[in-house]
Amino acid sequence: MAGDERFKQEVLRLAGAEVLTCIQCGTCSASCPTAFLMNPSIRRLIKFCLEGKKEEALHNETLWLCTSCLLCTVRCPRGIRPKAVVSALKDMAEREGLRSKDAAYEQFFLKQIKDYGRIAELALTAEFLLVFPQGAVQSMQMGLELLPKGKIDLKIEKIKGRDEVKRIVEELSK
């Protein structure tokens, strides 16, 4: 096979050997509530894994659109767990250093908790949009609509006992 066999084997190890039995029926994609946003569909994602197409399998938005609702896994007639494939690919993407929106967002989120003990929405959005500027314009437009209605807090609030929260976060991050 022309594809990356090691990549394929890694997916099978993480997501189960049943993936080999996929018949490409499309039950998983058709069951997926966010399928309309995905490209490629979960079905094709699985095909990429089986073909050893690492690039196509890891560099896509589909992985990060999965809501973990598990409908695909419940309905697959071959007993494959497409959700497990997605999780495996996410892990691999992160190990490869592919920075995902999710991971970046989580990082900023956690930093604010550490620093302020709670979230400052405006600052968090701003920080995130600096790294992933796609969609910044829409966000700003929405922000301008929300601002006069008092839906956005411009202040950064800090809680008492921030040191303790910081310690908790650091302890759990070990």
Binding site: I23, C25, G26, A30, F36, S41, R43, C76, P77
Partner: protein, 792 residues
């Protein structure tokens, strides 16, 4: 007991490797041997005449032929000695060709040594042979056919036309099975009942068929040739002899209406009913669950046939063979909740579609939306509902649903050319004569095909939407249809469980009845005298079910037409004095030949001589008439009498696969070392642990047990039993300080000569590493001594 030993040259096949002179003089000196000769070709007329002459002149009472495999010429020599007046079972063969000269061509000296052992083993066994008389038992010429679907009908008619008498037992009030309910059938689109109806009435009118409908089998006793079957005929509450089948009179006045099971819920019937107009027998039946007992039908019946006080009737039949044609049941579509069957009225199954398309069905042939009664304009067929689906436990393909949907789609399209029809499929499976052409025909008619498995059906304000990914374009879609037809798969009939358990039939993982061999014995059950036809052994189309019905009939005719059954005298027998009534043998017997009487009793007609019971009996109360304990022990002792090489292996080979594999290694001239002394047994399960211990006690370095590959045992699961015993034995060896690796069990098919040779080579390697038997005991002993001396 004078024994004659004949060592065959087989031209140069044997004599080219082995030293014939040495073998002959070795044989002469063996106990009880009156004459030993070497013959050019023992199987030739000259060879056979020499043996016959010696029998007459020297009064030989048993004969050993050291030549080719007994699988080749045992019948020849049995015939030869019986012509000379000996019992045919007073023959033993030593296999010095396939299992010696042909596989040890480069070691003539060692091969000759091995051949000596093989001859000594055969002579030792021959000394213990007993004359056996093949018994014949009278058999019943009646056959029970269970199930009156198309397979059962085909079987019944062929049997009755061949002169046997048939009892056809059907659970429903009419025969005809599912085929009678279908509309036109693929791939020719001819009317189903038009071709089946005449066969149904032929069954009814045949003088040699006793039709027992609305009945169930509740008990089976006996074995091949003589089964006693008991059952009950449920009460119809209508006298079959009086009823004229006019039905309008009684059903016309009946006030109760219930959904008809013969229309799969879309049509209705009365509490007194005839399943469908072509039912056979054409006799009314009262549904006791629906009937309110108003007795208006009793008054209305002009023939006074309705008898609400009718009682169930027991029946008892004597039959020689049983054909199981219990068929299938449709997959329960409510189990696929995402398709909404049972909740959404316009979601129906294939069978409901069949009834709708049927001109005598509930809609008189109109294809309508059940919710509105309007003609459906956008029809969807969903394939693989309950098939190829591990979420419902049915991994298999139901084989007929693709063709059924192609056919129904065509019928709808022909009737309503403007209907928009789409078949949603994973793969279209159209394997059969004219089937692919049938698919092309559907395509040309303008039926749409979407390669997709529909994920779910939503009903929004009374309209059905199918949600799926078109896997060829990659589009996610939500498409509106008026009518969704679920192509439900075929499952084994649950109600056939009772019969299956009575007969001791085994089931495959897919739930259908297992046949004796997945390719070579397609209509035979594991139990002698029991045959399986049609969908009882897996989903099948109509022509194949008919072929199987006929095949099962011909098997039954072959078995019973002579009126007597010759039994192989190789069965097990019980010593009632020794039996401790533990019933272990009853559970083990793959043929259900041992009865739970007290003491145990072997039905020799059913026993196939595998010998598992004899190996398992804790009281040694069971022995075999052929391959007896004493004979096998004698072979073991002869093999270990003189240890001619290291390591010395005593090998037990099952007759069907591994002995065949060893023979094949010979015919393929696969060379391997000479260390093994092979003993033929009927099944690896025959190997009594005492045989193994005797071999090791007398100095064999290892014991090999070879059986058929797991799952391919000719007695169903003998090799599993052998494996279990070997595992226990290994524990015993370990306890007494022997290396458990000295007992080895291997599996090889009759086609695996190479694997057999490799098994021998591997085992020799392992035994060489262990050293001669007892090495570990000496080592253990010296370790103990060392420890003792190390103590202060």
């Amino acid at each position: 007991m004078p024994i004659g030993v004949y060592v065959c040259h087989c031209g140069l096949n044997i004599a080219g490797v082995l030293n014939m002179e040495e073998l002959k003089s070795f044989a002469e000196k063996l106990p009880d041997v009156a004459v030993a000769r070497d013959l050019q070709f023992s199987c030739s007329d000259i060879g056979q005449e020499q043996i016959q002459k010696d029998i007459a002149e020297l009064k030989l009472d048993r004969v050993v032929v050291a030549a080719c495999s007994p699988r080749l010429h045992e019948p020849t020599f049995r015939r030869a000695i019986s012509k000379a007046g000996l019992n045919p079972y007073m023959l033993e063969m030593a296999n010095i060709r396939e299992q010696c000269s042909w596989v040890h061509m480069e070691q003539p000296a060692m091969a000759t040594e091995k051949a000596k052992d093989l001859i000594a083993m055969a002579v030792a066994k021959a000394a213990l042979l007993k004359p056996l008389e093949p018994e014949s038992i009278p058999v019943s010429k009646n056959v029970l056919v269970v199930g009156g679907g198309v397979a059962g009908i085909a079987a019944a008619l062929d049997l009755a036309d061949s002169g046997l008498h048939v009892f056809l037992v059907e659970r429903r009030p009419t025969i005809g099975g599912y085929m009678a309910l279908l509309t036109d059938v693929f791939p020719t689109n001819d009317c189903s009942i038009c071709v089946l109806g005449p066969k149904m009435s032929e069954v009814y009118n045949h003088p040699d068929i006793t039709l027992i409908t609305y009945a169930e089998v509740l008990g089976v006793e006996g074995s091949v040739g003589n089964f006693t079957v008991s059952g009950v005929r449920r009460a119809r509450y209508v006298d079959e002899k009086l009823c004229k089948g006019c039905i309008n009179e009684c059903a016309g006045v009946c006030p109760v209406e219930v959904p008809s099971e013969y229309d799969f819920g879309i049509g209705k019937r009365k509490a007194i009913y005839i399943p469908y107009p072509q039912a056979v027998p054409l006799v009314a039946c009262v549904d006791p669950k629906a009937c309110i007992g108003c007795a208006r039908c009793v008054e209305a019946c002009p023939a006074q046939a309705v008898k609400l006080d009718q009682e169930p009737q027991d029946f008892k039949l004597n039959v020689g063979a049983i054909i199981v044609a219990t068929g299938w049941q449709p997959f329960d579509a409510t189990r696929k909740e995402e398709y909404g069957f049972g909740r959404y009225r316009d979601v129906i199954t294939t069978l409901q579609m069949e009834r709708m398309l049927n001109a005598s069905g509930p809609t008189k042939g109109d294809v309508v939306q059940p919710s509105t009664g309007k003609i459906a304009e956008r029809v969807a067929f969903l394939q693989c509902v309950g098939s190829r689906d591990s979420t419902v436990g049915n991994l298999y393909c139901s084989r007929i649903c693709c063709m059924a949907s192609l056919k129904n789609a065509q019928l709808v399209k022909e009737k309503y050319p403007h209907t928009d029809i789409t078949i949603y499929y994973i793969d279209i499976r159209a394997c059969g004569e004219g089937y692919e052409e049938f698919y092309v025909r559907a395509q040309k008619l303008g039926i749409n095909f979407v390669r997709s498995r529909v994920s779910c059906i939503d009903e929004v304000e009374g309209e059905l939407f199918l949600i799926f990914e078109d896997t060829q374009t990659g589009e996610m879609k939500k498409v509106k249809h008026d009518l969704a037809v679920l192509s439900v798969g075929l499952e084994p009939d649950e109600k056939a469980d009772v019969l299956g358990n009575l007969l001791g039939l085994s089931r495959r993982p897919d739930g259908f009845f297992e046949i004796a061999h997945p390719k070579m014995r397609p209509v035979e059950a594991h139990i002698d005298g029991v045959f399986i036809a049609g969908c009882a052994s897996g989903p099948k189309e109509i022509p194949i079910s008919i072929a199987q019905g006929s095949a099962a009939a011909s098997k039954a005719v072959k078995l019973l037409h002579k009126g007597v059954l010759e039994l192989e005298p190789t069965s097990a027998y019980v010593d009632p004095e020794k039996c401790i009534k533990c019933k272990l043998c009853v559970d083990l017997c793959p043929k259900k030949a041992i009865a739970v009487k007290s003491p145990a009793y072997v039905d020799e007609a059913a026993c196939k001589g595998c010998g598992s019971c004899a190996a398992a009996c804790p009281a040694d109360a069971i022995n075999m008439r052929f391959f007896s304990d004493e004979q096998i022990i004698a072979q073991v002792q002869a093999a270990t009498e003189e240890k001619r090489e290291f390591p010395l292996i005593v090998a037990f080979l099952c007759n069907w696969c591994s002995y065949g594999a060893a023979d094949l290694a010979g015919t393929s001239r696969i060379q391997y070392p000479t260390n093994a002394r092979n003993i033929r047994v009927m099944c690896s399960a025959r190997v009594d642990p005492s045989f193994v211990l005797e071999a090791l006690r007398r100095g064999a370095d290892g014991v090999l047990i070879a059986g058929c590959r797991i799952g391919e045992c000719h007695y169903r699961d003998g090799n599993y039993q052998a494996l279990q015993r070997v595992n226990v034995l290994k524990g015993v060896l370990e306890k007494i300080g022997l290396d458990p690796g000295r007992v080895k069990i291997v599996w090889c098919a009759a086609s695996e000569g190479e694997i057999f040779a490799k098994d021998i080579r591997d085992f020799i390697g392992e035994l060489k590493a262990m050293g001669p038997i007892g090495t570990e005991l000496k080592k253990g002993l010296s370790e103990v001594k060392n420890e003792e001396t190390a103590l202060p």
